[in-house]
């Protein structure tokens, strides 16, 4: 039973560029949440997707957008990259009917903006 899969594992982009990160949820899960974790910090909630719509959003600018596909996989897009966007981006999947302890996290995508 595959867990949460994220791609790519590492990425280097130039300031001002755009990036797309991908996430495949755990089998049986229908909800995907994205977190940003800066070095030495805890994960910060970006947004959550369910039924192909953004269900909740954290305190992140509109440069951060996402998408969920009919197969429940998800993408995180970041436009106009800033140096401060360098971080580990974590995807977590869950069941919409579940509580927060039903979250399964992927290994993350390490984004470096130069």
């Amino acid at each position: 039973d595959a867990g949460v899969t994220q791609s790519p594992t590492h990425l280097i982009k130039t300031r001002g560029q755009q990036v797309t990160l991908r996430c495949s949820p755990k089998s049986g899960h229908d909800t995907v949440s994205w977190y940003q974790q800066a070095l030495g910090q805890g994960p910060q909630f970006i947004f959550q997707y369910y039924e192909e719509e953004e269900r909740q959003r954290g305190n992140f600018p509109d440069r951060f957008s996402g998408h969920q596909f009919p197969n429940y996989s998800s993408e995180l897009n970041v436009n106009a990259l800033l140096l401060g966007d360098s971080a580990l981006y974590l995807c977590a999947s869950s069941l919409v009917s579940g509580n927060s302890y039903g979250y399964t996290f992927g290994s993350g995508t390490r984004l470096t903006v130069v």
Binding site: G42, F45, A92, Y103
Partner: protein, 113 residues
């Protein structure tokens, strides 16, 4: 903003010793969870304690919760070098019927062989 705050920020001990990490939070919670993260990788769920529970055990892990003080502690007994990792507490934030784990900054634990 981060709901939970772990203390200490870093902890260095010898193998076999016990490691204690604390978490304080600000608002009322339904559940509090502890997660482990190895070297900037994904988060692994360790244990959940509900607001009506005071103590919970799982193997070498012991978690306590004091809702009157809005604090929790994680005790790892007889630590091993493999326990070296960052440990985070997460409180649930309920909005629109969905529970979103909100993480603290974590405690970095180093266990020396």
């Amino acid at each position: 903003s981060q709901q939970g705050e772990e203390d200490p920020q870093a902890l260095s001990i010898q193998e076999g010793e016990n490691a204690t990490m604390n978490c304080s939070y600000k608002t009322s919670i339904n559940n509090l969870q502890w997660y482990r993260q190895n070297s900037g990788r994904g988060l692994v769920h360790l244990i959940l304690i509900r607001s009506n529970e005071r103590e919970k055990h799982s193997g070498r892990l012991r978690v306590t919760l004091d809702t009157s003080k809005k604090s929790s502690s994680l005790l790892i007994t007889a630590s091993r070098a493999a326990d070296t990792a960052s440990y985070f507490c997460a409180t649930d934030s309920s909005s629109g019927g969905s529970y979103i784990p909100t993480f603290g900054r974590g405690t970095s634990l180093i266990v020396h062989p």
